[in-house]
């Protein structure tokens, strides 16, 4: 076990240890400190991993380690990361201290439970991305539900019970189908190779041999879980509810990482395991994504609950992410993965801003709170910043990925893209997809400026009874709050100005995935032609 593997393990173990410490040893008042210190310490091995990762071989699993767990089920504790997973892990780990910082004042009761589960969630999120075993992935994927369920259910606002139930049950239902689909793939591969294996790389290598019908069903099953998680229209209704009711940290993690499990799942599993079916149904998926972009965007525009607005905006934004995946080409995948990494920063930032406001005024209703710029200029500045990042302003995080996703939609139509590019071998999407998805840009400006215009600008409006709750609240953001925002701000700028670093990092795996899809589609086309030829030959020879 190399040093790096230990570091990777630490990313999961440290939060778990902290959770145990908080739950069984620590006092409630220390919970925050333990969580904060742990989440900060966890950053160190993560940085070490980032440094020792061999980015020039980003498509290979690195820091790989495997321990046989249940050989009869083929289940191995096998971890390892490629560059995509590595970056997503980095994102998850970096969000840790931020959400802990942001929770200090919001969470007053049940602190032990809160921070313990927050830490568990941290570990589970790392686990999802670090898994090289299909079942292990699924275990972590599902496991994230529980901490989140508890965070929403116990620490959410008024409608939290319904929200947590819907969140859990909806995603759980979907992922049961995902499990069935995954098992089918494993079974199929075992019939091909004679080995029952859950190793993702092996499965990916052989799954393309499934017939189109099989792949279609597998795709449907996998998407049942992942599309709900993303969430893709029309499976999104749990998200606004969950986001609205969740505590700030929950919303941030939900937006920052948990939704990405869906797109990551599509990228990592749905596409490689059912390449031909995905190719076949990519336009339909893209249409859903685009409907989501426009539909959710327009709904945002008429919200009065500011948190719900941002929640719906996630639905809208994630539409771009799925669109990029549906384009099945390099720019689409790159854009989509970039979106996975960057979306959480701006949306997470917005959720933090709303959380800070809520701590002061105990309302999220834009009719009750408005014009806060005059009272909280620092807050308003950050709010405008994150809103602009969310709008997709160039130079900030949303832009490069949005551009790539839209370009990919154009490109993925063979008629519109130069031959010789991987992914330019057929028509999945086309310019109209980009045009309609592009309206999302306008709509995003509409609803976010509507929000900013109401909540930050205009005459000051404050709810009458604010300040009756608990301790006196400082006027503007405190140093702690600003500290939690600075990394997000820096992240937004970094993603906006230096996406190339990330794009280079994910270039290899993305190209590999595109090649895989291309290979499967071509071989299936070839075999179809062969069949056609045979039929013709037989027909000609009575």
């Amino acid at each position: 076990m190399s040093m790096e593997v230990i570091q990777l393990g630490l990313l999961m173990d440290l939060p778990i240890l902290a959770a145990l410490l908080i739950a069984f040893v620590g006092k409630p008042k220390n919970a925050y400190k333990i969580a904060l210190i742990t989440s900060l310490i966890t950053v160190l091995p993560m940085l070490g991993l980032l440094a020792s990762f061999d980015w020039s071989h980003g498509d290979q699993y690195q820091f790989a380690w495997s321990l046989s767990w249940l050989p009869d089920l083929g289940l191995n504790l096998s971890i390892g990361v490629d560059s995509v997973a590595m970056l997503l892990i980095a994102l998850s780990v970096l969000l840790g201290p931020i959400v802990v910082l942001a929770s200090k004042r919001a969470i007053i009761e049940n602190r032990k439970m809160y921070y313990a589960w927050l830490m568990v969630l941290q570990a589970a999120m790392v686990g999802v991305f670090a898994s090289r075993d299909l079942l292990l992935f699924y275990i972590f994927f599902e496991f994230t539900l529980l901490p989140m369920f508890i965070l929403i259910r116990v620490f959410g606002s008024t409608n939290r019970v319904a929200a947590s139930m819907k969140f859990f049950l909806y995603t759980f239902t979907g992922s049961m189908m995902t499990l069935a689909g995954m098992v089918y793939v494993v079974y199929f591969v075992s019939t091909q190779t004679g080995v029952w294996t859950l190793d993702i790389a092996t499965l990916t290598h052989h799954a393309g041999a499934m017939s189109l019908t099989e792949q279609t069903w597998v795709l449907a099953a996998l998407l049942a879980g992942f599309a709900v998680k993303v969430p893709l229209f029309p499976f999104h209704t749990w998200l606004p509810l969950a986001h609205t009711e969740a505590p700030t940290a929950g919303s941030v993690i939900l937006a920052g990482v948990l939704l990405k499990l869906g797109t990551y799942g599509i990228y990592r599993f749905a596409i490689p395991l059912a390449p031909n079916a995905f190719y076949e149904y990519a336009p339909a998926i893209a249409v859903l994504a685009i409907i989501g972009i426009i539909y959710a965007g327009l709904i945002c525009w008429v919200q009065t609950d500011i948190k719900k607005l941002v929640a719906y905006s996630s639905v809208s934004h994630l539409g771009f992410c799925v669109l990029g995946l549906a384009a099945l080409n390099v720019s689409g995948f790159s854009g989509s993965i970039l979106y996975m990494l960057s979306h959480g920063l701006s949306t997470g930032g917005l959720f933090l801003m709303i959380g800070f406001m809520y701590e002061r005024y105990h309302t999220r209703d834009m009719r009750q709170v408005a014009g806060l710029a005059s009272k909280m200029p620092v807050w308003a500045t950050f709010m405008v910043f994150f809103a602009m990042a969310s709008v997709g302003l160039p130079g900030l995080n949303g832009f490069p990925s949005e551009v790539l996703c839209l370009i990919s939609a154009f490109q993925s139509d063979a008629a519109w893209s130069a031959a010789g590019e991987p992914g330019a071998w057929g028509s999945t999407l086309g310019p109209w997809f980009a045009v309609f998805a592009g309206t999302g840009m306008v709509i995003a400006a509409m609803y976010l400026l509507y929000m900013v215009g109401k909540i930050c600008f205009g005459p000051l409006v404050e709810p009458k009874d604010h300040g009756h709750h608990g301790d006196p609240i400082p006027k503007d953001l405190t140093a702690r709050e600003i500290t939690s925002l600075v990394p997000l701000t820096a992240g937004c700028l970094f993603f906006g100005l230096q996406p190339t670093i990330l794009l280079d990092a994910i270039e290899k795996p993305v190209n590999a995935t595109v090649n895989l899809v291309e290979h499967s589609v071509e071989s299936m086309n070839a075999s179809n032609e062969q069949t056609d030829f045979n039929i013709i030959a037989e027909g000609a020879n009575p």
């Binding site: 249940l70 083929g74 699924y138 275990i139 049950l169 089918y184 494993v186």
Partner: protein, 521 residues
Amino acid sequence: MSEKLALIVPEILLFITTCIVMITGQWPQRAVRQFTPWICGIGLIAAAGAATATPDAVGTLFPALIPYTKVIIAMVGLLLLLLLSGTVDRDIETDVDRGLKFNPINSNRGEFYAFFLFSLTGLMLTVSADDLIWMFLALELTSLPTYIMVTISTKEHKSREAGVKYFFLGALGAATFLYGFAMLYGATGTTNLAGIAQHFATNGISSIGMMGMLVALLGICFKIAAFPMHFYTPDVYQGAASPVSAMLAFVPKTAGFIAMILLLATVGWHAELGLPGEINALLWIIAAFTMTLGNALALIQRSVKRMLAYSSIAHSGYMMVGLIAGPGQSGDPFWRNGIAAVLFYLLCYGVMTTGVFAVLSAIEKRNGQEADDIDDIRGLCKSYPALGWVLVICTLSMLGFPPLLGFIGKFGLFSSGVSSGNIGLVVVLGINSAIAAWYYLGLIAAAYLDSPGDSVSTVTASPFVSRKIAGVISAGCVVLLLVFAQPLIEGARNAAALSPATPNAADHAPLAPDPRHDEDH
């Protein structure tokens, strides 16, 4: 003869223990009386030890079924034993504490433990059964004591009502599978299971044999609490004392599943098409209905025990997926072997459900009544953290939440279902797991997330530490068996290996090729 006896050494040991227990349970000296459960425990451990040493049952359908199955029966039996302590004779012991003289006539302790052991003996005998007569007797031996245990488990009316319903409907069920057995015998001229299998394999399955099989299976559905014989389940579970309910959830169900496995092995599973059409259709419908019914009705319960009863029904439905999938070809691995999945799941289910019932048994209302309403367990993690956590862990496991034991078990069912081509049923299973999540989550939320302040009635710990221990052990197993599941899974796989010599009727039956599988050829 001696080979046969060698197979039933555990049963013999248990029977001996039963005889001892019957006497010691009524013993005037309290110390001896109270030693009774220990004797049971020793007997069970001895039986488990003997079971491990059981040789292969040559000539039976599942030659290696006995060791694994009997060991898990004995182990879960030990857990149940911990749970059962104090169920009866509580008043009598209180009276003795107050100085009254012990009157063996009023005491039920002896027969209660004896019945428990009898039931387990019956269960083990079911495992050893190689003959219809044996199987019938073993099944009845499993069930008859439980009728009485249910009835005497509490002093309340509900136990009697539960007892009467259980008994009468049980008789109906027994008559049904007996009639099925009669027809099976009529069709084949032998009561020996291997003989029946041989007959089916050589002569095909006659319509009367098929009818017999169907009726027998339907009758055994009573034991496993499956549709359409499940109606008694919630009433009986609710009426019986919680420890007894736990026992009902494991013992007759296991007996029923073992019996079904043995019966189904006589017709065999076709390599591609599985069970013969009628049986497949029957089990398919039963499985789907059982899961759905159980989960749906569990959704609307306030009584935790009723909820668990319905969940027990649902779990039977899940396990039937494994039955339908069958053991696959000889030498097939665990993930393909539905029977192994069932055997493993029986263990998982036994442990999980014992844990939950243990929690319910370990608390009681202040008026001495059983804790049953969901409000009674509200905030349990705060008032009784150990019990609360046991409940949370075991319920999560029943939900099939990864990576707990229930998930591993369910994954076996999933994989066998998928690899045997029953994807539709697996989808139903998946949807049902999600429906089940609803009420399990309610349970978890009530115990862990809600504060005791919400609770209407307050509960207190019951004075039996062993119940708490049973719960903690169950929860411990749910977590720790994850790490050590491999030997168990391996054991289940070995146990469920169909004897290679088994003639397979299904393979010989003239069957139309299924177009689904054309592309495989």
